[in-house]
Symmetry: C3
Subunit: 216 residues, 3 copies
Amino acid sequence: MTTSTALLLADLVGVAVFAASGASAAVAKRLDLFGVVFVGFVAALGGGIVRDLVVDQAPPLAFADWRYAATAVVASAVVFRLHPQFARLRTTVLVLDAAGLALFTVTGTLRALDAQVPPVGACLVGMLTGIGGGLGRDLLTGEIPVVLRREIYAVAALIGAATVVALDGLDRTGPVPLTVAAALVFGLRLVALRRHWSAPLPTFRPPRPNGHPPPS
Amino acid sequence: MTTSTALLLADLVGVAVFAASGASAAVAKRLDLFGVVFVGFVAALGGGIVRDLVVDQAPPLAFADWRYAATAVVASAVVFRLHPQFARLRTTVLVLDAAGLALFTVTGTLRALDAQVPPVGACLVGMLTGIGGGLGRDLLTGEIPVVLRREIYAVAALIGAATVVALDGLDRTGPVPLTVAAALVFGLRLVALRRHWSAPLPTFRPPRPNGHPPPS
Amino acid sequence: MTTSTALLLADLVGVAVFAASGASAAVAKRLDLFGVVFVGFVAALGGGIVRDLVVDQAPPLAFADWRYAATAVVASAVVFRLHPQFARLRTTVLVLDAAGLALFTVTGTLRALDAQVPPVGACLVGMLTGIGGGLGRDLLTGEIPVVLRREIYAVAALIGAATVVALDGLDRTGPVPLTVAAALVFGLRLVALRRHWSAPLPTFRPPRPNGHPPPS
């Protein structure tokens, strides 16, 4: 299997799990079939489209290669049909989302390095590829974006992207090191969810005499 | 009239009706003159800007050709001045929106095919060109995006885009077949609105003992 | 100091003040450290990324030059640490936002003209560069976008962008005229805030017998 085939496969698995996460979120909101497919499509392909616009790959893979859109649509439709078997949709969304975050961060960083984006930029593009789809899904379904919630999320992607950039610098971008990088992001995110790891909060508390949130 | 002139005219009519739909929505939200023009501008040009970024037309037509921005601004300002004559703004928004959806889907699909985007991608780009402006308008005015509501919307655009791709395959992209494709999208959308056609809903119902929506 | 160095410096100052505005808004929403940095990053670099996508500068400066991201991250982290010293965060956000609006409008218009975008398009790109970051910040923190609020905002950017286009036509794009253009935007925005200048409102009032807002 060539690197390019492996990258395509990892991408399509990421598309499928992000589509399933978007579709699950849309089913939980009681959207109809096309709403479910649309949210699944945005969740699956939004991050990659942003990445391709940034590295000037035109048209983006999501439009140039029909297998991307087909994977997103099929995965979303499968979730629409099978969702009664998902006992707890919220957990499903979170685990699939962590898997998509891991896969897209790794493939996004690699594609940015391929397009000659310098190291710091490649980390950012990889992180955005990972978090873009979930951001679109949450904006469409009216949730607070997962990236702004308490548990670490973007920072897991950033650590994974920096790992890929470092591996690339060492010329060690074979399947095994990259799988380790993806597993690192996936593991970090799941442990953060389970242990409620979060970044520091502001220490300042505005006065709130009546217990109301401060005006903003 | 050359094909290119016809495409420009269809585009500008689409810009005008989408600007009017955005401006009507903004007037209904009681925004001021510049808010109305801004929402009209986003509704009119957002879909085309996304399309041009995707097919790597730089700068996008909305910035390269002043007639696009001028049409959007004039149409929005006219709605701002004349809106007391619109008795029922909501209906106006929906009908104008259907017309813009039809025109932008057809012109967006054609431009994607011109830019050598493959058939499946061209359908998606055409659909996104059609639905992008309305999505931006609804996000800015705090409405649930029309594309996620019950009646078919994106699917009407997708059928229209597929029709244009098929006509292109048959080398029949003259004004008459394309007008028929646009009328098909417009008609589908209006009938869907009137008859409340919608896609299938999830069959699963999460338990809701107290009639509250399920936690998500 | 060359023009290009001056443009870079103005850009980085704009990045710092917009990052601080985004971080202040995020601190006011009680987000954690990474949420604060993320919102600061979007506020600081969102407008420029949109500008670079539109003028086909790939990858966008925010990814090609690490000093942009570093400035945004440091400015956001400084606000996170020092915010107890900001007595009134809302005023701070508004003043920093006005400064970022002024700087980004001027540099965005110049970069669009450099990329051969025609005059009307360059005004629009300059305005979007100025307002894009604040729009992203407000969407992420759940505020009504500042650009749609009563006091003039986008129109200050548009006047500034038109001034830069006019100066460019007169071949007077030295540091002094451009600083005057930026000061014009900053001053207009601050005066508009203080005096509650706003654009005309719709004259039409839909019937509201019970004092409820009209259905939309």
